[in-house]
């Protein structure tokens, strides 16, 4: 990017056709209105108004900044870090200034959104390999996650119905099992058209979920008898059925506790130090006690997850930027062409499907496996749709887009509405000194007062049922994206599938010769 002439012209074009700019515009108007109201002294409590104005100003600036970064930065790591940092600021300001969370709560909130961002980023990256790169329309993500987590729990979980093998065996077993189930699905199914593959994969994920949910395998795998002959003896490993199954103790606990399963056994040296230091942290602006041990442990685990996201990203960039990735893209664009150029497309598809399923299994293990417990209800098809929406937002085909899509989905779409539902009553209270009162228990109770032009019951009802409204929002967003931005946020970018710089080699050495090869054309 040349530095000088960039700013004005580019900024103008940016504002002309950017959704982010529109959003910033809305916030700017809001900001002006709030400022006027603050100056006029509406509401009386001036400090609350000043804070609100400050927060909204920062939010507006953040949106513009992220939008600019998005559009003009060529450095993918900078984009990802920038987006995440902006979201941290949003949550930090809301938590500190509006919700008055203590330090421990703030840290935990940031940890929670990082956790969700990381698990979704991993899942989206894996799905991007299938759908974005290869065009394999797999909507059975939840099923492959389930295979990973359940296999791990059954191999090395603490329950009586588990084998009690060491954790690494369980994790590798889970990943391999997910890949194998993927292979079983892939061998015949990849011959099908995309929409048939969709139906087969979603049905398969339901078969998997219903099997784990069944009482048949609850406490053991029953022996297989046919015509009085026992073909397979009973295996004393069960799924726990509808009640779910315990997963192994989170291994990061071993860093801090002498016995990870029993806190009373005392702390390790690192534990003594880290817990003490975390408890001693204090920030002038934020009150409350320091960061507590459970949050420290969870925070450590999030660091592990972030490392795994980086690993997924590294792996998939390598897969994508290679002759292998080039064939995958070609399969997506036109399988017959790839085939006619001598590529055994079936083999490529099977390998890719297995790799993606293995990554989905691993992502599932890192997510659900870390919570100590899992049940079939964690793997409903809606889970797959979440991942899909995140991929569509990020832009199918782009690994950076996948990570950003995962972050945006997890923080803004998934966690955002519930956070907003907590913020709104707080803001109403502080700014207008009004209370929403207890929400009506039924929809009719919420809607009936509209006849008297009283909207507060409906608002209160909506806030209480925010998770329902969130589903509607997600549904509408899916439709909006498919109608208006099917390429997602990053879909327009060229991520060339090659291992080397593709510019003309002989001109590369000359000064200023890159004109032909630069991506600006």
């Amino acid at each position: 990017m040349s530095g000088g002439g960039f700013a004005l012209a580019d900024a103008r074009s940016y504002f002309r056709d950017s959704t982010a700019a529109t959003a910033a515009g809305v916030l700017a108007v809001l900001y002006v209105l709030l400022s006027i109201a603050a100056m006029a002294g509406v509401g009386g409590t001036v400090p609350a108004w000043r804070e609100t104005v400050l927060v909204f100003t920062v939010y507006a600036l953040l949106i513009v900044a992220v939008g600019m970064l998005w559009r003009y930065s060529r450095n993918d790591a900078v984009i990802i870090v920038g987006v995440m940092a902006a979201i941290y600021v949003v949550y930090l300001m809301a938590g500190v200034l509006f919700l008055g969370l203590p330090l421990n709560g703030i840290v935990n909130t940031l940890r929670r959104i990082t956790f969700l961002s990381a698990v979704y980023a991993m899942l989206v990256l894996a799905l991007n390999l299938h759908w974005g790169y290869t065009g394999l329309f797999n909507i059975g993500v939840a099923g492959f996650m389930a295979v990973g987590v359940y296999t791990m729990a059954m191999l090395s979980g603490p329950a009586d119905i588990a084998l009690g093998l060491p954790l690494p065996v369980g994790i590798v077993g889970g990943v391999v099992a997910a890949a194998l189930v993927g292979a079983i699905a892939a061998l015949p199914a990849l011959r099908l058209d995309a929409d048939y593959l969709a139906i087969v994969t979603v049905a398969l994920s339901e078969i998997i979920r219903l099997s784990y949910n069944s009482t048949v395998f609850q406490s053991s795998i029953p022996r297989l008898r046919l015509a009085g002959i026992t073909l397979l003896p009973s295996i004393p490993v069960g799924t726990g059925g509808g009640q779910g199954i315990r997963t192994p103790t989170n291994p990061v606990r071993a860093l801090y506790y002498k016995d990870p399963g029993d806190t009373s056994a005392g702390l390790t040296d690192l534990g003594e130090f880290a817990f003490g230091a975390a408890d001693g942290v204090s920030v002038t602006l934020i009150g409350g006690q320091g960061v507590q041990p459970p949050v420290v442990i969870a925070l450590t685990y999030v660091l592990v997850l972030v490392a795994f996201v980086a690993g997924f990203y590294w792996l998939l960039i390598r897969v994508g930027n290679s002759p292998f990735g080039r064939v995958l893209k070609a399969i997506r664009e036109d399988e017959l062409v790839a085939n006619s150029l001598g590529k055994d497309t079936q083999r490529f598809k099977i390998k890719t499907f297995m790799l993606g399923c293995a990554l989905m299994g691993l992502a599932g293990i890192l997510w659900r496996g870390s919570t100590g417990f899992t049940q079939p209800g964690d793997y409903l098809p809606i889970q797959t749709f979440y991942v899909f929406l995140a991929l569509i937002i990020g832009g199918a085909g782009s690994n950076t887009g996948s990570v950003v899509g995962g972050i945006v989905f997890a923080t803004l779409l998934f966690e955002g509405p519930t956070t907003l539902a907590r913020l709104i009553p707080e803001l109403l209270q502080r700014l207008f000194n009004t209370q929403l009162g207890s929400p009506p228990s039924t929809f009719v109770g919420a809607v009936a007062p509209i006849a008297q032009l009283d909207l507060t019951p409906l608002l209160a009802y909506s806030l209480r049922n925010i998770s329902t409204l969130r589903f509607i929002l997600l549904g509408v967003l899916i439709v909006y994206m498919m109608q208006n931005r099917p390429d997602g946020l990053f879909g327009h970018r060229k991520e060339v599938a090659a291992g080397v710089d593709l510019r003309r080699p002989d001109r590369d050495t000359g000064a200023g010769a890159a004109t032909d090869g630069s991506e600006s054309g």
């Binding site: 390598r318 017959l336 006619s340 085909g397 060339v496």
Partner: protein, 279 residues
Amino acid sequence: MSDAADAGRATETEAGTDGRDASAEYPLRVEDLHKSFGGITAVEGASFRIEAGSLTGLIGPNGAGKSTTFNLVTGVHKPDSGAVCFGDEEITGLEPHEVANKGLVRTFQIARQLDEMTVLENLMLAPRSQVGEVLWRSVLPGARRGVLAQESTVRDRAWEMLDFFEIDHLAEEFAGNLSGGQRKLLEMARALMTDPDMVLLDEPLAGVNPSLEKKLLEHVHELRADGYTFLLVEHDMDVIMNNCEHIIVMHQGRVLAEGTADEIRSNERVIDAYLGENV
């Protein structure tokens, strides 16, 4: 009347007695291919062979079975009976990728560029058995070095190919943004990137403007001089007559006649077939 065709047949059976000679002189040999879809017979006993280093034309009225023959040779469809030999191997019923890996590569009648890949990516896809097409080699740190080294050579060849076809200014463009003629050039360049022994061109000039058409044909002749063998399916009689030294005419799923342009021009059965179709 049908001397040309008869003559062609005669040499075929003669050569057929000595397989080794045939495979060297005639890399592609098609014998008695049959194919029907549902109740409709598309190819009914087509036999011909293509001389090494030649530019052979395949013509015939609509529905003569040219495209089906192409698809049978390249493995897109499986023949009901008959045999296809390439080099000294029989390739009947192989998958398209297996056929391509033997060195027999095709282009498509309606150019099938890979829309959301750049022109360079389209070309770099083509070379056969790249080491980086093996998943672990592309990923593992040690093995990847070899992959990258090969990537550089492939890239350099792609640029050479772009220069040859004079589309180097389009290198970074998405293939979907190319004009119809440029797509045809890309398609041919991509086929050549596989380093084939023989190229089957399926109507490479359809929808191409006259000046580009001239250029494309020049390229074909130039490449022929370098030793490539071409089989050209074309609708346009003139193109075939003026460029191919050997011409095969198909009609109703069979080879109607074979020979030089002059022989074909004076062949009454060919004239009948074409007048009958009113082309």
